[in-house]
């Protein structure tokens, strides 16, 4: 047997570049979004590359990849890429192939062109019920339902600015939703149910206790089993104990659902990056199409479109008009859950008489 190959790392980044990129990397002069989903980049050398961006499902099959490959072979000399938000980009070097490519994509039917500029691009998301063990919600299904409703905004430039929606199916936030214009977050609302007969077998008790951010977990003896007890008053359902200890599941049909967060951003353009803030504390899981979630997101998006200045991100809009006005404009309810009570809570209190009626 040949020596086992390890630690070779990924292929070098330029291996898959089209020739025009090899020649012009670092020399690009400007870009122009010719129409939604179609980018042109022009080099100092005069060289050009067109990129056609298409929505994709992220969770896909090898059949789908093969279809993408076929299109790329036909119009892009076999070159394509994925964006950081799970869209596919077909890289066109020969301008003559641009229109035929767009036709082929339209014919394909599952590769909608868009996701550029002042749009709602693809939703960054996580595993949900398709793979993970800790989710409070599904991921792919919610994304599908929401994107169906917002579809017109994907392939157009109708938003005041770019809107980035992200989804994470539990507080671990693998989707890094904490800095998104709109975040869809799976939340549990019941403390773990403890399998006392197995805690000591399946878990390291001290690590489990240490894992709780609010110190809600104490060692306990239950029916002669070494186990733990959870102080339900201190539990905020983060699921961190379950991560450490499989004998403490949180998932519950009635307890679990969706929270919506708004106004985060990552870019440093104009305003500094912002965390997303709580908009809707809880919406029950409503598979298969999560109608309340979809409706409330639409409500937020429409209030934003109606109220924001051009070039103003959602969080910039909310801060300009004030959060009291945000709740009014979106028709969302403000409840005690919106008031922070975690570590930096006091820094969010309003220490001024400045507010609006």
């Amino acid at each position: 047997m040949a020596e086992r190959l390890t630690d070779i790392g990924p292929p070098k980044y330029d291996m898959f570049w089209p020739q025009v990129i090899k020649e012009n990397a670092g020399k690009w002069l400007y870009h122009d979004i010719l129409e939604p989903g179609v980018l042109l980049h022009v080099s100092e050398s005069g060289a050009k590359i067109w990129s056609v961006r298409c929505g994709a499902t992220r969770l896909m099959t090898t059949m789908m990849v093969e279809e993408i490959c076929k299109i790329a072979d036909q119009f892009c000399d076999g070159h394509f890429r994925f964006t950081t938000r799970n869209n596919v980009e077909f890289l066109v070097v020969d301008q003559a192939k641009l229109e035929p490519l767009k036709k082929a994509l339209a014919a394909h039917g599952s590769l909608p062109v868009g996701g550029t500029g002042a749009c709602i691009t693809n939703i960054v998301h996580t595993q949900g019920w398709v793979h993970c063990h800790t989710p409070a919600i599904d991921a792919s299904g919610v994304v599908k339902a929401v994107m169906d409703e917002l579809f017109e905004y994907f392939g157009s430039h109708k938003m005041p600015a770019q809107v980035r929606i992200s989804l994470a199916c539990c507080l671990n936030m693998c989707g890094a939703v904490h800095c998104s214009d709109i975040a869809i977050l799976g939340v549990h609302r019941k403390p773990p149910v403890i399998e006392h007969t197995h805690v000591d077998k399946m878990c390291e008790i001290p690590t489990t206790i240490a894992a709780c951010p609010t110190a809600a977990i104490k060692p306990a003896k239950v029916d002669d089993n070494k186990s733990v007890a959870v102080n339900a008053d201190r539990c905020m359902f983060c699921g961190n104990c379950y991560t450490m200890c499989p004998a403490m599941p949180l998932a519950d049909a009635d307890g679990d659902g969706i929270a919506l967060w708004v106004g985060g951003k990552v870019s440093n353009s104009k305003s500094m990056p912002k965390f997303s803030k709580l908009a809707v504390p809880f919406i029950p899981n409503e598979p298969p199409r999560w109608p309340t979630t979809v409706k409330l997101i639409k409500q937020i998006v429409e209030a934003y479109v109606a109220g924001a200045n051009r070039y103003e991100r959602l969080g910039e809009w909310a801060e300009r008009i004030g959060w009291e006005r945000f709740f009014e404009k979106t028709g969302l309810e403000f409840s005690h859950h919106h008031i922070d009570d975690y570590r930096f809570a006091a820094t969010t209190w309003r220490t001024s008489t400045q507010f609006k009626w």
Binding site: T6, G9, P10, P11, Y13, D14, M15, A25, G26, W28, L29, Y30, H31, I33, H41, S51, G55, R58, L59, T61, T62, M63, V65, C69, A72, F80, R81, T84, N86, V88, L111, A118, T126, W129, V130, H131, C132, H133, S140, G141, K144, D148, F151, H157, N172, C174, C179, P213, C238, A253, V266, S267, N268, S269, K270, F275, P288, Y311, Y342, F344
Partner: protein
């Protein structure tokens, strides 16, 4: 083995204009892929129960690697034997996720033969996530992958797969070669990536400029973000063309018909108010510019970042677990980033050493810094305090002093004090 399951709820997700993962998986199931049929079946059950149906974790992997595979087992395997094992294989993506059809087909071929045929393009960290393999297949998959030039990504308390924006390859804003940095770090730290050794996970992300298209500032323990120290380059003729409405505003992001009002859209929205426009000339007081990118974004054909480029290094971003979410914060305001990136790597190694020594179990570096103090961290990595590291100086008076900072030190005798002050 797997029968076709009834999936009335999932079928609802075949409707609507956005591409449907259900439709895609269904047709694959029809080719006889058990895993696909059973995945849909189990997912339908989850939709009914409103609870997931995967067991907790499970340690599986490939020889000599501590990560790269996430173990997963169904908790209803008798119903869905095709997904009894459903481990994921994280394949380290090429920087910026360019592919040739030739190369990706090789992976798809392996995955069709040995896995579920389902995958994520891409995982949130950046890997290609091959979803669903049986334990027996893991070692063969790994062998075939490496034979074709691919390797696994990270998982566990290790370095995670670095990722980057597309940077210089197709973006005129790139101030650093984000893809090269990503690749170089990945190759330099293969051992850290594959053999978990730290208090917790550690992520690098590389953005070519402050627009942060790979969201490094929000999602990586160490964000490398391109920036510049000199002046924004202005093409005066192009400025005039914008003023004349010849070019679309914001690179066409609002449609080709949307033109720029330089005063209102650019100058007035500059966060530092360091720009001026007299109807003819646009001038920038670069000393006061914070390089936010706004004006450049608005007028990509007229403005460009400077030429004395490098990176700002922001450390500590992470999701909420345990102590709350963090964004990265400025640790090195500016560092040159030219291969082989030695100065940067020296910093990285000091940083890891400090974290490795001081970090508690499951404590991200950002949390260790919170616990021990930003000042302590700065000193540990041999940097000087700089006001650029903070938004504002402290406002509370609880200032620590070390004994050697105070004349006479801390040791005092109460007798001496009482000589001067009666009780």
């Amino acid at each position: 083995m797997a029968k076709k399951h009834q999936t009335p709820m999932l079928d609802e997700l075949e409707k609507g204009p956005w591409p449907s993962f259900v439709t895609d998986i269904k047709r694959m199931a029809e080719t006889g892929k058990d895993a696909c049929a059973d995945l849909l079946g189990q997912l339908e059950l989850s939709y009914k129960d409103k609870e997931g149906h995967w067991k907790h974790g499970g340690i599986v992997g490939v020889l000599g690697y501590g990560g790269g595979v996430i173990g997963r087992y169904s908790d209803v395997p008798e119903l869905f034997p095709g997904v009894e094992h459903f481990h994921t294989v994280r394949v380290n993506q090429p920087a910026a996720k360019y592919y040739s059809t030739e190369a990706i087909r090789k992976i798809m071929d392996i995955w069709n033969r040995r896995g579920s045929g389902m995958l994520n393009l891409h995982g949130s960290t950046g890997d290609m996530v091959l979803l669903g393999a049986f334990t027996d297949e893991l070692e063969p998959i790994f062998a075939e992958l490496t034979a074709n030039g691919w390797d696994l990504g990270g998982s566990g308390s290790a370095l995670r797969t670095p990722s980057s924006c597309l940077g210089k390859s197709r973006c005129e804003f790139a101030c650093i070669h984000s893809e090269d940095i990503c690749y170089d770090l990945t190759q330099s730290y293969q051992d850290e990536l594959h053999r978990p050794a730290w208090p917790y996970k550690f992520k690098f992300k590389v953005d070519g400029c402050p627009n942060c298209c790979v969201a490094s500032l929000a999602r990586s323990d160490c964000a490398i973000i391109g920036t510049w120290r000199d002046d924004i380059r202005i093409d005066a003729a192009a400025v005039k063309a914008y003023a004349a409405g010849e070019y679309a505003a914001n690179g066409g992001a609002h449609g080709q018909d949307c033109k720029l009002d330089i005063q209102k859209d650019v100058v007035d929205l500059c966060p530092t108010q360091c720009m001026a426009w007299d109807g003819k000339t646009l001038s920038i007081n670069n000393k006061e510019c914070t390089r936010c990118m706004h004006c450049i974004n608005m007028m990509p054909r007229a403005l460009r970042p400077g030429v004395d480029t490098g990176a700002s290094i922001l450390v500590g971003a992470k999701a909420p677990i345990l102590d709350g979410a963090q964004m990265g914060s400025v640790i090195i305001p500016f560092i040159k980033m030219e291969p082989p990136y030695e100065e940067f790597k020296e910093f990285v190694e000091k940083m890891w050493e400090w974290w490795d020594e001081n970090g508690k179990n499951r404590e991200r570096i950002g949390e260790t810094i919170q616990r021990l103090g930003l000042g302590t961290f700065i000193a540990a990595v041999d940097l000087e305090p700089d006001p650029r590291m903070v938004k504002e100086p402290r406002s509370n008076p609880y200032v620590f002093y070390k004994e050697d900072e105070v004349p006479g030190g801390f040791d005092r005798k109460i007798e001496d004090y009482r000589k001067r002050h009666a009780r």
